[in-house]
C-alpha cells in the first residue's frame, strides 16, 4: 500500500483522531506564509457558511516550509471567522498539518492529501492553492457541491482572468488536452479543483506515483484520469484568479509540470485518445470563462528576442524533434520583424504535436524536449498577445476557440507523426 510509507506516524495519529469525514480540504504548501492567511480564512468561512453540518477536515501537506506556513494553518482560529461572519459550526473543525518526507513536490503533496482522503473515506476532496489570495468563501461550495450533492467526480475551475493571464493554458494546455481527450475543460491543470472520494482512491492506485511525473505533474494526470475513466466531470465558475508573480524560470518549471505531464499521459492512454475525434463540452456551473480588459504592459520585443534566439540556438535539437517543414516555417517566422510577427495557430499546433511525438519516442532527453518548447511557446504567446491586444473578451474567446479548432483539425497529423516516430 502506497500510503504505508507516505504517511508519518504522527500524521496517521492525527488522522485517526479526525476519523471519517465528508469533505477534505487539501492545502499543499511550501513557504506560503505571505499568502496563506486569507486563504485559510476563506476556507474556514466557506466551511462554516456552506457546510456547517458536514464533517470537514483541512489537511495541510507541507513541503518543508521554513517560514512557519504549517503553524499558520493549524493555528488559524475558527473563532476569528465566527466573529466576522457570525456563522456557527455544529461540529469540530479539524486543521492538521504534515510535512511529507520528500523535497517540495506538488505531486507528493497531492498524493499525501489523496491518501488522507482515502483513509478518512472523504466523499469530496477539494484542493486549494495557498497563493490564491483572491479566494472567496463560496469557492468552496462551488467546487464541492457538484461532487457532494450531484455525484460528479471532478469539478474543474473556471476563473475570471486578466486577458493576458493564463496564456499557457489558452495556447497549449487547453487546446491540446481538448483535442487529445475530447473534453472541453478550460483548466486541465488547475490549482483549485474538487474530486470525489472514488476518484481519489482510484487515482491513488495509479502507476504514476512511481514516475517523475507523479511527483511534479500529478494534477494534470488526475484530470486526464477523470476524462478517460468512467467519471463525471464538470466545471464551476469561481471568480477572479490572482496570478502570482512569475519569473522566466517559473515558466520552465510550469511547463515541466504541465506540458511534460500532458505529453507523458499520451503514452499510456494512446488506445483511448487515438480513437477520439472532435470534442464535447462538459457541464458548467456558473459563468463561462470571463476576461478582464484592464490594459497590461507586455514586453513584445523581449518575447520576440527569446523566440528568435531560441530558434537559432536550438536548431540542432529542433532537427531531431521537428519535421523539416515545421522547422523551416519556424525559421521563417523568426526572421519577421517584431511588428510583423505572427506564429499561426496551425503551425503552432503542428509544432506541439511534433514535440509530443518526439517526447513519446524520447528522441532526446524528455526534459530537454520540454525545455526546447519554451522559446517556441514564447513566440506563440507573443502572437496571442498581439492578436488580442485590442480585443474584447469575446474576441479572445474566439481566438482560443479558433486555436482549439486547429488542434482538433490537426489531430490526425499527431497520429501520423506519432506512428512515424515510434
Amino acid at each position: 500500500m502506497a500510503e504505508e510509507t507516505l504517511l508519518t506516524d504522527d500524521f496517521l495519529r492525527q488522522l485517526i483522531n479526525v476519523g471519517e469525514v465528508d469533505i477534505l480540504v487539501g492545502l499543499p504548501t511550501h513557504n506560503n506564509a505571505k499568502t496563506i492567511d486569507p486563504v485559510i480564512r476563506a476556507v474556514q468561512a466557506g466551511i462554516l457558511e456552506c457546510f456547517p453540518r458536514e464533517r470537514v477536515v483541512i489537511i495541510n501537506a507541507d513541503g518543508g516550509s521554513q517560514d512557519g506556513t504549517p503553524e499558520r494553518v493549524t493555528g488559524a482560529s475558527i473563532d476569528d471567522v465566527w466573529n466576522v461572519s457570525k456563522v456557527y459550526a455544529l461540529r469540530t473543525l479539524h486543521s492538521i498539518s504534515t510535512q511529507y518526507a520528500r523535497s517540495p513536490e506538488p505531486g507528493t503533496a497531492l498524493r499525501t492529501i489523496l491518501a488522507a482522503a482515502d483513509l478518512l473515506r472523504a466523499k469530496a476532496c477539494v484542493l486549494v492553492s495557498p497563493d490564491s489570495t483572491t479566494i472567496e468563501p463560496d469557492w468552496l461550495q462551488r467546487l464541492v457541491r457538484p461532487v457532494y450533492n450531484d455525484n460528479f467526480d471532478m469539478v474543474s475551475p473556471i476563473y475570471r482572468r486578466q486577458k493576458f493571464e493564463g496564456a499557457l493554458m489558452r495556447n497549449l494546455l487547453y487546446p491540446m488536452t481538448r483535442a487529445i481527450y475530447g473534453h472541453r475543460i478550460r483548466e486541465p491543470y488547475a490549482s483549485e479543483f474538487a474530486i470525489s472520494g472514488r476518484l481519489a482512491t482510484d487515482f491513488l492506485d495509479k502507476e504514476i506515483w512511481n514516475h517523475d511525473w507523479g511527483r511534479i505533474g500529478a494534477e494534470i494526470c488526475l484530470t486526464v484520469t477523470a476524462m478517460t475513466g468512467k467519471y463525471r466531470v464538470c466545471q464551476a465558475f469561481l471568480g477572479t484568479k490572482a496570478q502570482p508573480d512569475r519569473s522566466a524560470r517559473d515558466l520552465l518549471a510550469a511547463m515541466r509540470q504541465t506540458v511534460g505531464a500532458l505529453f507523458s499521459s499520451l503514452d499510456s492512454n494512446f488506445p483511448l485518445w487515438s480513437a477520439i475525434t472532435g470534442s464535447q463540452s462538459v457541464p458548467t456551473i456558473g459563468a463561462l470563462s470571463e476576461v478582464m480588459l484592464e490594459p497590461v504592459r507586455v514586453n513584445r520585443k523581449q518575447l520576440w528576442e527569446m523566440f528568435a534566439t531560441g530558434v537559432a540556438e536550438l536548431e540542432p535539437i529542433f532537427r531531431s524533434i521537428l519535421s523539416a517543414s515545421t522547422l523551416s516555417e519556424l525559421q521563417r517566422i523568426a526572421t519577421l520583424d517584431v511588428s510583423d510577427f505572427h506564429y499561426p495557430g496551425d503551425v503552432w499546433a503542428k509544432t506541439v504535436f511534433e514535440f509530443a511525438a518526439s517526447y513519446h519516442r524520447s528522441v532526446i532527453s524528455r526534459d530537454h524536449i520540454v525545455q526546447a518548447l519554451v522559446p517556441l511557446y514564447r513566440g506563440r504567446a507573443l502572437t496571442f498577445l498581439v492578436e488580442n491586444r485590442e480585443g474584447s473578451g469575446e474576441d479572445i474567446e474566439r481566438s482560443v476557440e479558433s486555436l482549439c479548432g486547429e488542434f482538433e483539425r490537426l489531430k490526425p497529423y499527431l497520429l501520423e507523426v506519432w506512428a512515424d516516430r515510434k
Binding site: R13, N17, G19, R55, V87, Y88, A89, R91, T92
Partner: protein, 544 residues
C-alpha cells in the same frame, strides 16, 4: 419519611403521569390506586423519587396544566385519600414524591378566574393580568406559536383582555398581588403538610410582567421565588423546589440565587445538544454548552433529562442547530410541535439499543440529578398521530396482554389508544417480558441506576472535561473527596481509538464499573482506549 437536606442531589427521579400509568378501577384512565399498586416496580427499577405530573382538578384542556382547584384530586385519578395512601406507600419504599405546582396560571375555569372576570370591581379582579387593550408587553414572545396568535385574549364577559403565556384558556396569575402570592403559598403548604417532598414549579420565568421587557426572568420574579423558598425552608426544611425554566444557562443561574431560590433547575439546553452530539458524532455541542454552564451553589443541583412529557424543546438552540435537529430527528413534520419534536427516546434513537444505552449513560454520569420518563426504561414508542403532546403520553405497557396490562377496560374506552405497532407495541415492548430477560433494556436500566446510586460522586462530584484529539469521544472526570471516576463515551457509530491524557492520575489502575474488570495502570504515556460503536466506559480510579 424525614426530609433530609440535599436528598435531591443523589436522587434518580422517575416521571409519571397518574393517568398513563395504571388503571385500578377499569375506567380506562390511570389512577392513584393503580399507581400505588405499581410502586414495587418503581422500587425495583431503583429510582428513589417520583415526579407526578398534575393530578389536580382540571378541565384537562392541557392535560392537567390547567388547574381549576389546587387542593383536590381530579376525580379521574381518585380521591385525596387515595393520594395519601400512595404517598405513604411510596415513602415506605424509600421513594420521595415531587408534585407539580402550576403556579404561573390557572384554568379559565378556576373559581379565582371566574370571579375575576365577573366584574372589574370584583375583589379577585387583580388576581389576573387585565388590560383594556391587547398592546401591552409587546416585547414578549409567544410560546405556543402553533396555536396562539397573541399573549392577550379577549374576555367577552368583562370586556377586556387578559394575559396568558400559554394557551388562552390558561390566564396568568398576577404575582404583583400579595394576595395571590399568599394563596399560592397556602397551596404549597397544603401539600407539604400532607408529606410531599418537593415541587416542580411550572413556567417559572413568566410569573411577573413588566412593560419594555421580555417579561421573562425579571428581578421581581426572583423576589417571588425567594419569598416562597424562605417559607419552605422555615416551615418545611428539606423540601425541594425544582424550577422549570427553559432558558440559557446564564439566564438559569439566577434561579439558584445564593442558594436561596430553587434547589434544582432543569438544564434545558443540554438535552437537545446530547441528541445533536450523538448524530453529529462530535462532542462539541455538549462540551460547548457545559462550558457555558455556570457554577451553582453547593446546595443546588441541575436536573437532567433525555425526554419528558413535552416536546423535545428546541427553544434553547441556535437556528442552524434547530434546522439540523428537525432534519435529523423530525423529518416528518407531524413529529414537530411548536419549537420542538414530540417523540419518545427510543423512536428518536431509531430503537438502537446501543444509542439508548449511551444516552442514558451520559444522563446518569453528567453532573445533575437524572429524570427518567415513564416507559423510556423499557423503550416505549410514541404515536405522532395523536394531537398535541399526547403521542408521548400513551398507556404504560406492563404486559403483552389486554391493553398492555394498563387497564381491564374495553380498549375503546382507554383515555388514549395504546401503542400497537409491531416494533413498539405492548406485545413487543412491555415490563413483564423485559423483567424475565437478563439482557433486556429494563434489566440494563436497573443495573446502571444501581451503579449510579452506588456513589455520591455522580450527584455531587466535580466535573472536568478531558480534551482528547478524537472529537468523537466525550470524556470527563468526576471527583468527590478521594473518589475519582473517569467517564468515556464514544459518540460514533464506528469503533474509535482514543488517547487520554491521564498523567495526573499516574499510578492509578482503572476499574470498569459495570463488569468490575481491571484495566491497565495509568502511566506517563497517553492512555489508549479502543471503543466499540456507541460504547461507553465508567471507570473507578484506584491507587493500589
Amino acid at each position: 419519611m424525614k426530609r433530609e437536606a440535599g436528598w435531591y442531589k443523589d436522587a434518580i427521579i422517575y416521571q409519571i403521569h397518574v393517568r398513563t400509568f395504571s388503571d385500578s378501577n377499569g375506567d380506562g384512565i390511570g389512577d392513584f390506586q393503580g399507581l400505588a399498586q405499581k410502586l414495587d416496580y418503581v422500587q425495583e427499577l431503583g429510582v428513589n423519587a417520583i415526579w407526578l405530573m398534575p393530578f389536580f382538578s382540571s378541565p384537562l384542556r392541557d392535560d392537567g396544566y390547567d388547574i381549576s382547584d389546587y387542593r383536590s384530586i381530579h376525580p379521574n385519578y381518585g380521591t385525596l385519600d387515595d393520594f395519601k395512601t400512595f404517598l405513604s406507600s411510596a415513602h415506605d419504599r424509600g421513594i420521595r414524591v415531587i408534585v407539580e405546582l402550576v403556579a404561573n396560571h390557572t384554568s379559565d375555569q378556576h373559581p379565582w378566574f371566574l370571579e375575576s372576570r365577573s366584574s372589574k370591581d370584583n375583589p379577585k379582579r387583580d388576581w389576573y393580568v387585565w388590560s383594556d387593550t391587547d398592546t401591552g408587553y409587546r416585547g414578549t414572545r409567544i410560546i405556543f406559536i402553533d396555536t396562539e396568535m397573541s399573549n392577550w385574549a379577549w374576555d367577552p364577559i368583562s370586556k377586556s383582555y387578559y394575559w396568558h403565556r400559554f394557551f388562552s384558556h390558561q390566564p396568568d396569575l398576577n404575582y404583583d398581588n400579595p394576595a395571590v402570592r399568599e394563596e399560592v403559598w397556602n397551596v404549597m403548604k397544603f401539600w407539604l403538610e400532607l408529606g410531599v417532598d418537593g415541587f416542580r414549579l411550572d413556567a417559572v420565568p413568566y410569573l411577573i410582567e413588566r412593560e419594555g421587557t421580555s417579561c421573562e426572568n425579571l428581578p421581581e420574579t426572583h423576589q417571588v421565588v425567594r419569598e416562597l423558598r424562605k417559607k419552605v425552608d422555615d416551615q418545611f426544611p428539606g423540601a425541594m423546589l425544582l424550577a422549570e425554566a427553559n432558558q440559557w444557562p446564564a439566564d438559569l443561574r439566577p434561579y439558584f440565587g445564593n442558594g436561596d431560590e430553587f434547589h434544582m433547575a432543569f438544564h434545558f439546553p443540554l438535552m437537545p445538544r446530547m441528541f445533536m452530539g450523538l448524530r453529529l458524532e462530535d462532542r462539541k455541542p455538549i462540551t460547548e454548552i457545559m462550558q457555558q454552564t455556570p457554577e451553582i451553589p453547593a446546595s443546588c443541583q441541575w436536573c437532567l433529562f433525555l425526554r419528558n412529557h413535552d416536546e423535545l424543546t428546541l427553544e434553547m438552540v441556535t437556528d442552524i442547530e434547530r434546522d439540523y435537529m428537525y432534519d435529523i430527528y423530525a423529518r416528518d413534520k407531524t413529529m414537530r410541535l411548536n419549537l420542538g419534536i414530540r417523540r419518545r427516546l427510543a423512536p428518536l434513537l431509531d430503537n438502537d439499543r446501543r444509542r439508548i444505552e449511551l444516552m442514558n449513560g451520559m444522563l446518569m454520569s453528567l453532573p445533575g440529578t437524572p429524570i427518567i420518563y415513564y416507559g423510556d426504561e423499557i423503550g416505549m414508542g410514541d404515536n405522532i398521530y395523536l394531537g398535541d403532546r399526547n403521542g408521548v403520553r400513551t398507556p404504560m405497557q406492563w404486559s403483552g396482554g389486554w391493553n398492555g396490562g394498563f387497564s381491564i377496560a374495553d380498549p375503546e374506552r382507554l383515555y388514549s389508544p395504546p401503542i400497537l405497532n409491531p416494533v413498539y407495541g405492548y406485545q413487543a415492548v412491555n415490563v413483564l417480558s423485559q423483567k424475565r430477560t437478563e439482557h433486556s433494556l429494563l434489566s440494563w436500566m436497573k443495573h446502571i441506576i444501581q451503579i449510579r446510586r452506588s456513589s455520591p460522586v455522580f450527584g455531587s462530584g466535580s466535573i472536568e472535561f478531558l480534551h482528547p484529539a478524537n472529537h468523537r469521544v466525550l470524556a470527563y472526570v468526576r471527583q468527590l473527596g478521594r473518589e475519582t471516576f473517569l467517564i468515556v463515551n464514544n459518540l460514533s457509530s464506528a469503533a474509535q481509538a482514543v488517547e487520554l491524557d491521564l498523567r495526573r492520575y499516574k499510578g492509578n489502575i482503572l476499574i470498569e464499573m459495570f463488569g468490575k474488570n481491571i484495566f491497565p495502570r495509568v502511566g506517563d504515556l497517553p492512555y489508549l482506549l479502543t471503543m466499540g460503536p456507541y460504547q461507553f466506559y465508567w471507570f473507578r480510579l484506584r491507587r493500589i
